[in-house]
């Protein structure tokens, strides 16, 4: 995403107006002495007060009222903001000075926010919890503005009022949000993101700038904590990562909105390189191993979203074309490696796209240095504007359009993916293909968690057999019990007879759960279409079923 530092924008791409200082003055150049001369004023406190009150009023909308913890989270956040305002008020009164804000509207903020909003709109149309999350996003935006404003005043400077906090909030919520019972942690995550932007800084090219992309910083820290404490279930992270694909042609959609961002902010080299790296590594792996690297796609949709939004902040990415290419390459490698690492650690793999961003942000200076150490102006300037009569970005975009088109033609973006099929993984596991048994167990565990009794019975069978997982009678009985309680007769038979294993094809209800591909609701799907879908996903028994022709 593109929240950038105040002062980065050039006069040509920003609109400013001073609210605190003298009209027409240049706000950034207002000295502390001038501020002192302004004296103490309560006027500017109205803004954070109104925002906090709005947050309080939001706690009365039905969505928030549906959960007592949610209401308490809102009120807690309001209480903290009001207390901080009171402290700031007393502090400024004592020092007889006040700080205000000036308006600065930056395209990279509002265009980014519009692009993100379009993703929410499209995705939410096919996965309704997104729309239900609307008021909670508004609340976070109100909280973020107030928090950022107070943070700025506590640092004795005017607040830059623009659209800056909006893309940060929208970006965070595209990857992680806490469930209602834990929503106070969402406010805390937002607060830590803004504090990271304010307090974790370094000198880069002679300027004091923040090191980390604020949303990626918050997401990175909370990801590490959630993994370490094994509390991912307190969030919607897994659902968010897997439900993007419910929206048809999501890759094409993300590609198209990504072009808008690329056109305005020249992020093509970073995003494109990251995507190409991932596609390339994924293709190499699947051609050598015989199975896809990522579970259900060549590059997960959430990763594709991430490489357009999380690593493209110009403040926290390299400046030179070669540096950007290197940055994108490292992101691709990072995601690729983390996917395996997280899987090996038994952690949810959807964190892969989040964890490497802060590390990459930290390496920006090193990348810049490395690029400068290249003793070749031609190489450093590769893809530079002058090669294309000042239209370098358009040239980069053209290449990216061609590559994406090629990948789409090869069926590597939208459309059915062989990894979506459980029989594919069963077959691959039977053939001993790398990681396929692990993936099979992983998939079955997910489906069993979704109450697909067939999957529970299969898991029980694996743990009783001890061929693809270590034998574990207790786990096996637990899975058979679950399967049996879900009325899967083979599971019950397996509970009675511990010396053999009964298996059976998925029932109709199981198919409705097994064929959801991330979260589609197939409960109302006509039975003939259900069996046709099962047949299409390589369930041989479904192809032979009379129900397919009903």
């Amino acid at each position: 995403m593109l929240p950038s530092l105040a002062g980065h924008a050039t006069p040509g791409n920003m609109a400013t107006s001073s609210v605190a200082g003298q009209p027409g003055s240049t706000p950034r150049k207002k000295s502390n002495k001038q501020q002192n001369q302004a004296g103490f004023s309560v006027t500017h406190f109205r803004v954070p007060l109104v925002l906090a009150c709005a947050l309080f009023l939001l706690s009365f909308v039905p969505r928030v009222q549906s959960s007592p913890v949610l209401v308490a989270s809102f009120w807690g956040a309001v209480a903290v903001l009001l207390a901080w305002q009171a402290y700031q008020f007393l502090q400024m009164q004592r020092e007889q000075q006040s700080y205000g804000f000036f308006v600065l509207l930056r395209p990279q903020h509002y265009i980014q926010a519009m692009v993100q909003s379009s993703v929410y709109l499209y995705w939410g149309f096919y996965w309704r919890p997104v729309y239900e999350h609307f008021w909670l996003i508004i609340a976070q935006i109100l909280f973020a503005y107030t928090f950022d404003m107070l943070l700025s005043w506590s640092r004795k400077r005017d607040y830059t009022l623009g659209f800056g906090p909006i893309p940060i909030i929208l970006s965070v919520n595209l990857f992680l949000w806490f469930r209602d019972d834990w929503f106070y942690l969402q406010f805390l995550m937002i607060a830590i993101g803004f504090m990271g932007k304010e307090y974790v800084r370094w000198q880069r090219e002679g300027r004091n700038v923040h090191i980390f992309n604020p949303s990626a910083f918050a997401l990175g820290i909370f990801s590490v904590i959630l993994i370490a404490t094994n509390t991912t279930s307190l969030t919607w992270g897994q659902e968010i990562a897997s439900t993007l694909t419910l929206a048809p042609n999501i890759y094409t959609f993300l590609f198209l909105v990504g072009l808008v961002v690329m056109y305005f902010f020249s992020i093509t080299l970073v995003a494109g390189m990251a995507a190409i790296t991932l596609f390339l590594f994924s293709a190499i792996y699947s051609s050598t191993a015989g199975v896809p690297y990522f579970l259900d796609s060549e590059i997960p949709a959430a990763v594709f979203l991430g490489l357009h939004l999380l690593i493209t902040d110009p403040s926290t990415s390299p400046r030179t074309p070669l540096g950007k290419l290197f940055f994108g390459l490292l992101y691709g490698i990072g995601v690729f490696a983390l996917y395996t690492l997280l899987g090996a650690l038994g952690a949810p793999t959807f964190y892969d796209k989040l964890l490497c961003v802060p590390l990459l942000n930290l390496s920006v200076i090193a990348i810049d240095r490395l690029v400068r150490s290249v003793n070749s102006e031609t190489l450093i300037s590769v893809w530079q504007d002058k090669w294309f009569n000042g239209r370098g970005n358009l040239a980069h975009m053209s290449v990216w359009v061609l590559l994406f088109g090629l990948m789409s033609v090869l069926g590597k973006t939208d459309g059915k993916h062989e990894g979506d099929s459980l029989p594919f993984w069963q077959q691959a596991c039977a053939e001993g293909l790398p990681n396929s048994c692990q993936r099979l167990v992983q998939l079955e565990a997910t489906y069993c968690g979704d109450n697909a009794a067939w999957a529970c019975n299969e898991l029980g069978a694996h743990y009783r057999e001890g061929t693809i997982v270590e034998q574990n009678q207790e786990l096996s009985l637990g899975y058979f019990s679950r399967s049996c309680e879900l009325k899967f007769k083979a599971g019950c038979v397996n509970l009675l007879d511990v010396d053999s294993i009964a298996r059976e094809n998925p029932r109709e209800l199981d198919l409705r759960l097994l064929l959801r591909e991330g979260g589609q609701n197939l409960m109302e799907l006509p039975i003939d279409q259900l069996y046709a879908r099962a047949c299409d996903h390589d369930w041989a028994f479904a192809c032979d079923s009379p129900r397919i022709n009903i």
Partner: protein, 316 residues
Amino acid sequence: MSEEKESNEPKVPGRTIGFSIMTIATFFVAVFLYQNSAPETQSVTIPAATISEDLAGFSSAHWFLPDDDMFGFVEIPAGSFTMGSNPNLDRMAYQNERWSDLRRQGEVDLPRYFIARYETTVAQFAAFIVNGGMTAPQVPLSGAGNLPVTNVTWPEALAYTRWLDQQLRQSADTPAALRAMLDAGAAVTLPNEAEWEKAARGTDGRVFPWRDAPAESVANFNSQSTRAVNSSQCSQCIWGLNDMAGNVWELTRSPLQDYPYTADDDAEGLGEDALYAMRGGSYADGLNNIRAAVRGGVDPGVRNSSIGFRVVISSL
């Protein structure tokens, strides 16, 4: 002069304090989430009275099994019995008690087995929970220890039988007859339909477990609640088993399938939804539903306050 001007300007706070606050907040989030990361285990609060050591008639040293020489198990001798209902003799018979299109009843031959005199009690199930037989139990164990345990799913009932099997095999106090049976390959489990029905009606084809006794004097039915499993004795019942009629429905290990009965097809029809037979009726049923041949069906995941179970030691 210059220095004076500088001192009038507000001092911009360093970043150390803010950074520290951020770090401490992060640390507390981590600690807080760590404390909430323990797997959710439902706290097992078993009232002291439930597993009181002086639960009359039961042995706390032996998992609250009945305090007698056979741990409350009654031997049912090998031999055949008449299964199913003859509407000429039993006008309350349901269609699913008919043996086949041609025959009203059938003969089933069973090897020797042992069956519990009482329905499994709250105290016995609590002993299973306390001894780690099950994590996160959802079975309410607040009743008196000698009440029949209810709200147990079919897999949970089976889990109890597996646990009791282990205990009996490991204990030095296990009665010799039971130990010999277990050593010969038998196992503690739920009765199948035939075992249950033979234990209930004996070999003389009776409709109820008793003969020549007012039902109200021996069975808990048409009432509001369960009763203690040892609250009465059924001397008129053929094997002296309590509550084979009424009190709680008793789960069996047989899927509910059309007669003629055979255990050979229990593992067939795996594509159908599981439905298991339960027998004996409950306190909430009328007289027609507490007959020995009555067959009910229950989803294996169902919990109900009128459904419990009793155990057998069976070689089948």
